[in-house]
Symmetry: none
Subunit: 209 residues, 4 copies
DNA sequence: CATGAATGAGCATTCATTCAT
DNA sequence: TATGAATGAATGCTCATTCAT
């Protein structure tokens, strides 16, 4: 109801907000929105609860801010998928980049998965807007490649879903993956192995004879 | 932590426990463990909170019970993967069954995903035990098929992970899938389309020339 | 948003609710809505805060319940003002009853005053409805008495306001009244003195020569 | 509790203090002492919260300062009641002035009412001192008029209370008055109507035959 | 003078669990 | 078995006040 006074940000404000967002990412991705407490986040950010609430008005505001940034980074690899490049190497790069993100930013992946799992209560508009638009656009690019015979014919949407699912799996189901692979194969090399496998499936599999 | 006194159960007890577990599945899969409340579950099961706690000692006990059953059902398709069958049709069936489960039991899938996402705090022993054992065993079956040249050579573990990831995606990321596909392609037929795509990738792709 | 489950009330429920309402009346009338805390009320009612919230869902619900009852009792004297009685003795009785209420139920008077002072944020509908309707009706009765020459002609609405103001003053401004009157005249007899004065002003003053 | 160091004030200090007091009057009269926040007052005064607290050490200090001024203005009409004037026209003027104050300074009236309602926790000394002294004095003046037969015999204290109550009612119970009078009679003319009624009651009614 | 930053104490409300019947 | 009643421990958020600059 109240008018948001759009506070101009000082340097300290910006820095502290980053601190908070980082701590929040850790906590939210681990416990989900409801499972996370402001206390935990404040602790992680090294400040008191009321002080944290001086930078963000509410738990939800932190979450929303996180989500907005997240989506942008998260969609970056897909956004780079280039119409004019070579289809095979474009797809290969896309898968590589997605896997790298799963390896380097697993918290972001889990935060996103958490939100979608619960029905995307706080992120739906972005899914319907930005995300859908981008996917539609890139699906069209892929369809073009198919029509021109540069990759075999298949469903571009489900192709994208599958790439998402398989790559993000290494972040979202990390504990399971590592446990199943065991100490011998569950180290960092698992990402190399996954990359090799996924290329075989998606890249070789899509290559016309 | 306390030793469970193994109470003998009457028929009524068993029925009520089922009622509770069903309600709990609904709530837990929707809100996660911490986000769910006993009140909601009791409501869903049509009984009072203390009465519910007569059948299960605590919120966690419900969750654990649910998880135990879940894993068994969840692994059933993989367990059916038959050593002596035809590899190609075995894999095809496996993918089909997993997709059917994603379609028919999305709550179970989400509950499982939720748990793993949070680091499997309550299910780790089963992952390390039952699940890992089964995967190891079936990976060996698949390896056997590869060695005998009946399917092409690749990594059986990552193959299993990929089948899990892609099929479960249709349950866990359901909102996103339907939103992106839009009203025209996001109906029940999405499972058919997915099946067709996944067979192309996994079955045709693994076929030796 | 949630559907109110209309709880059937047990005897204990009813008794405890009364206890709470009584304590709340004490606290609210003393500190106002915002100034009162649930802790204070729970303390006054001899129970824990969560226990109190088992009987009333929120602070506001207590206040609303209190207000609803209040208005009914509060308007009772005016409601008894009888069309067919003798105007002079009707007015005399009305003033007496209002003064008795100020003496015997000062907390109710103050609670009401508090609410109106703050712009009646939680009671406006009742003012616009029940209260206005009743006043309109009784103003018409008084007007009738005037038209028939049984009391002198004046404004019936402002007459009612003045009776309200003067009688309630002995509850609402009690501290001031007692302080000004001092120990000699500020005891219980102040109500007798007030009654005598008010009758002189309102009753004798309205009498036609 | 600490001894106030009597700070000498610059002109700017004085101006800012006025700004603050005006904003505080608005807020305190609307929400009561506990319901008001320093933030709201600082906002209303167009300054930051710590800056406001540079001019007044605490919320309470603002309130006390406000109360002290208030009482002086508030008692001015009574103070003007003149021993040597004509009793009837003195009383008439007194009522007029009090009604004008209710019309022009309703916030002051409500602030005062609020404080008394809560038992005058912060203003008691002034009630016992300044206010009581003045009332005693003026009651004696009125008694003199009665003894000399210039107005009829009645209780001067309760007469003063009644004039207070009835006039202040138009400020303190403003919402109720306007709601009951409705759009047709609840405009600014309500003060004229009230004045006419009150004169009839108090002035004509006190006139010896 | 002015303000951004920080905090301890408080507050309404929720929730898992226990107790008595 | 079943439930009404009770509560300790959170939990999100507010607010008067202080501190540093």
């Amino acid at each position: 109801m109240e008018a948001e006074k759009p506070r101009r940000r000082t340097r300290i404000q910006t820095e502290k907000r980053e601190l908070i967002l980082d701590a929040a990412l850790e906590i939210f991705s681990q416990h989900g929105f409801r499972g996370a407490t402001i206390d935990q986040i404040a602790d992680g950010a090294g400040m008191s609860k009321p002080n944290l609430l001086y930078y963000f008005r509410s738990k939800e505001e932190i979450h929303i801010t996180l989500m907005q940034r997240l989506l942008t980074t998260w969609l970056a690899p897909l956004r780079e998928l280039d119409d004019v490049g070579d289809p095979i190497s474009e797809l290969r790069s896309y898968i590589r980049r997605k896997l790298e993100m799963a390896r380097d930013y697993p918290r972001e992946s889990r935060l996103f998965a958490n939100e979608i799992l619960q029905g995307a209560p706080r992120i739906m508009p972005m899914i319907e807007g930005e995300l859908k638009t981008l996917v539609d656009e890139k699906a069209e690019v892929i369809s073009g490649w198919m029509r021109s015979g540069r990759i075999i014919h298949t469903d571009p949407y489900h192709l994208i879903f599958s790439i998402w699912a398989t790559t993000q799996h290494y972040a979202d189901f990390d504990v399971q993956v590592r446990t199943v692979l065991g100490p011998l194969r569950g180290g960092e090399e698992r990402f190399e192995d996954a990359a090799r496998f996924l290329e075989q499936i998606f890249v070789d599999g899509l290559q016309p004879d």
